[in-house]
Subunit: 553 residues, 2 copies
């Protein structure tokens, strides 16, 4: 089917994160974004997740390039892995700052098979049959773009992550004129950011945060510590601007924030007046009411600077009474308790902690309902795919589109890996390619298999009971044991009684088994598991993992 | 010290939950509330927590009674355990509905050593030297009270859980007049609810929810399912009232909601017009736009009705397009992801899901800052203990009190178990009694020890590696093994290589050990652990639990 355009979201349509969409027409393929996701609570020991990009590897001969809309890790973080696995030379197209951040990441992973091509808003590139124009959007990281993708079948708009900020910190407005231009000329397909599709009204401008900072800074009698994401250059810029306004020095603290700020300064995205930045070592030589520390740890990450400060384990920074700590970031769902604990620790040390719930020290980077409606009204797409979100966000976004006269059967709430095929005749979801999430763990650059996660969950619920027994191979009789030991098992007060009783019952039942069973190691193991499982369920209603170790001598 | 009043919060001042405060003067002691708490993420396998009430057991000869302010489980849930452990006859004082809920709970646990004494607002009881008056408050459960406690040293106000609802569903207003009466006459000590002490402004009236229900009910083309807490009788009443208004039938679904509603109906706290309630079995005989189902599962609990409906595992209730699901409850921090998943499932099945974030279908039961200030202004306490919250809530509440002229050194942010001693001379925290949290698990009615929780956390992070070896007892040489097996361990793609390599290194190093080590089982085990620990850390940066099993033959 030469005249078919395939649009395949490999990630980002069943979650916030893992953003990656394939556009494939004939022998020309390119992808938009290549993101990771941080693990959920039920994935213990996993460091992060990647989308399964087998489709790209299997079609690598068609790959004409990778476009990255902005520098957040949920859009860039899978690049080192994809590039390693694809093992051919690839060109990455992105804006200056986005590429600056990517360059560091690739260096860290020793990835050398990527050419980095800087693009600017309103510029166009050609990738096979596709022509792509970059369109400035406003978001919580500077230098983000959306895309107009010109295809043989019609034009596509991909918004990237965006909100409609009428007063962005860097003055770079969202380029409505170009979006309008394409809307006026007819757009076949819109892919639009759904992260805040459940939120009514408009998202506040980043400038609103400045007002809060000004109020807080003006009253500060002691040091101010601001925790935010290292990539939030706008926020860092505003903190620096207000610090300068109030004649304070700024200390950047933490590897990632120092690195990101340096990249942004070098590339001209962060403006810092001379003599404003001070090294952490100089902290004690500055009066406390003249210093602002900007750092990371807004999500309560255990090893972050903010956590170490909160529990009194940071070498240079000790909280004293009337220090102000501003958590200038969203509490990502699942992190509330960890963040709450950090806030408690900081309060106990006398800090005044200000966060989203108590003051306007954070605004979202994503468009709310009214902005999404505006985008739909400008673009007036024929087909629509809500992207960047879970099902409920897409359902909400789809409802907006329906109310704005996008036809119900022209709206596609997709699953990762599903293939939307578009021809002159129409558009339909037609099959599904390999998809899923790859768990990355430790130094592994590898994947944790599902079975391991299941085991960990099981272990964490009820612990493990290990049964050890040595059998006489020849006669199928017990030479030694059974012995039972446990870890993480339900241990109520009479723990030893329960294990001893279990041992007795097991021994009794094993001795009653016939030789056909006892001489077959596999059957014997299954028998041990079944006896103990039943016993623990009936007596104490628990289901530990039971692991029989049968040795034959 | 005969003339010393001890006030001891045994729980509820370091968490939301576990509410329990001891008042002890001479040989007279009573307690206010006796609550449990549901576990946090890092307590796998724990069903719920209790405060350590050893102080009460150790002073049980002085116990004159237990007062319960309202029927929520964080105020009542530890009663069966305390009553079982104290093993003497005790009188519980509470309002009619609160006692109705407690009676069920005690029946369930076969507790018979409690006399239940119904009290009414504005009534007084005498417990030794103490006289206690009950004062009506408004909260998210009906029939709540605060307390005026008259002691030889002065009067104490304990607010219980409250908010200032000017239009409560049952018309039972908060009794400002009595609070004012005591405020006017001088209050020595105020203990006040801090749950929402970080929230600015006023908490909305429960009646606001009715307006949202009316809008939703008026537009519903299909069935309406409302999930809330079984104890939220106000909410259930409002759902029933609006259902009647729109000529719909109501089905109560789920054991706890049926039980609680029945208790409330029997005691006159829930008014249901005849022919409104319908049995679940009749569901299919009613037109879909004429039915409202009220159920539980607002926190995404895995076995709840709502979860079973969401994943299509409920026998009678199947979601179809345009069904409306209202999650009419707060998302308790830590539960957001679980709730989010349920919402996704419901959306996928075509339901329109409405929850706190998208519409006003829930209001809090706790006073916000302006209401807390009003209480402080009415009571004008000499001393102040913020209760019901974590440190950050208390720090925020303390700040309000300071701004309203409570002296800084008269405000006590306490830890569980700390003893506030009040005499004619003054008040000061003087020592600490036994305190802590007891983990309750399974059928155990017993406690899970810390070590077990630590083990479970460890297991869930990196899994377990079991080393098995049989030694010749006499010569200290290896007879068989070492063999290595693992569960839940980091398994990157080359898992078997890593374990095999570990086995080789272990064997090599064990063979090199001298007999002094190999013949001592304990030392040998420690050696095995240290070799493998180092190996896994260096090669794959992981720390599995390592469990050596050394058999001697």
């Amino acid at each position: 089917m030469e005249n078919t355009l395939k649009v395949i979201p490999l990630g980002g349509v069943e979650e916030i994160g893992l953003n990656m969409t394939v556009f494939h027409y004939g022998t020309d393929m390119f992808i938009v974004d290549c993101g990771l996701m941080f693990p959920e609570d039920d994935m213990p020991g996993v460091d992060f997740l990647l989308p399964d990009y087998s489709y790209i590897l299997n079609n690598k001969q068609d790959l004409k390039g990778i476009i990255i809309t902005h520098g957040h890790e949920d859009h860039t973080g899978a690049l080192p892995f994809l590039l390693r696995d694809i093992a051919i030379d690839v060109t990455i197209y992105a804006t200056l700052l986005t590429l600056g951040l990517i360059r560091e990441k690739l260096k860290e992973y020793n990835i050398t098979n990527a050419a980095l091509q800087t693009i600017k808003p309103r510029e166009k590139i050609t990738l096979g049959v596709f022509e792509i124009e970059f369109i400035r959007v406003t978001h919580s990281i500077v230098d983000g773009v959306g895309l107009a993708i010109l295809t043989p079948l019609g034009n596509i708009i991909h918004t990237g992550d965006f909100k409609l900020d009428p007063t962005p910190v860097d003055g770079q407005l969202m380029d409505f004129n170009r979006f309008s231009f394409y809307g006026e000329n007819g757009v076949m397909l819109l892919l639009s950011d759904s992260t805040n599709a459940e939120k009514g009204g408009y998202t506040f401008s980043e400038k609103e945060v400045r007002r809060s900072f000004e109020i807080i800074f003006s009253k500060a009698k002691n040091r101010i510590i601001i925790a935010t994401f290292a990539s939030n250059i706008h926020r860092i810029q505003q903190a620096i601007d207000v610090a300068v306004q109030f004649n304070k020095k700024v200390i950047l603290c933490g590897r990632s924030i120092v690195l990101n700020a340096q990249i942004a300064i070098d590339l001209g995205y962060l403006t810092v007046p001379e003599d404003t930045l001070v090294k952490l070592e100089k902290l004690n030589s500055i009066p406390p009411d003249k210093v602002v520390i900007i750092t990371t740890g807004s999500q309560g990450e255990p090893m972050s600077v903010l956590t170490r400060i909160a529990i009194g384990e940071h070498k240079q920074i000790n909280i004293v009474k009337d220090d102000i700590v501003i958590v200038s970031a969203k509490m990502i769902p699942g992190n509330e308790r960890a963040i709450g604990k950090i806030i408690n620790h900081l309060c106990k040390r006398g800090a005044d902690v200000i966060y989203e719930k108590v003051s306007e020290v954070h605004v979202s980077g994503h468009a709310s309902k009214e902005e999404l409606k505006l985008m739909l009204n400008i673009i007036k797409p024929k087909y629509f795919i809500p992207i960047h979100g879970e099902y409920r966000h897409h359902a909400s976004h789809a409802k907006l589109a329906r109310n704005l006269n996008v036809k119900d059967d022209h709206i596609f709430i997709m699953h990762n890996g599903e293939i939307l095929e578009i021809t002159d005749e129409g558009a339909a979801i037609n099959g599904k390619t390999i998809s899923g999430r790859i768990f990355v763990d430790g130094k592994g650059l590898g994947d944790v298999k599902d079975i391991v996660l299941r085991d960990r969950r099981h272990l964490s619920q009820d612990g493990i009971v290990i049964v050890h027994i040595i059998m006489d191979k020849e006669h199928g009789t017990i030479l030694s044991g059974p012995e039972i030991i446990s870890r993480g098992f339900l241990v109520i007060n009479n723990e030893e009684d329960i294990l001893e009783k279990a041992r007795e019952i097991l021994e009794e039942q094993l001795r009653a088994l016939n030789q056909e069973i006892t001489e077959d190691n596999t059957i014997l193991q299954a028998k041990i598991v079944s006896i103990l499982k039943k016993y623990f369920r009936n007596t104490i209603n628990r289901r530990p993992m039971i692991m029989p170790i049968v040795m034959e001598m």
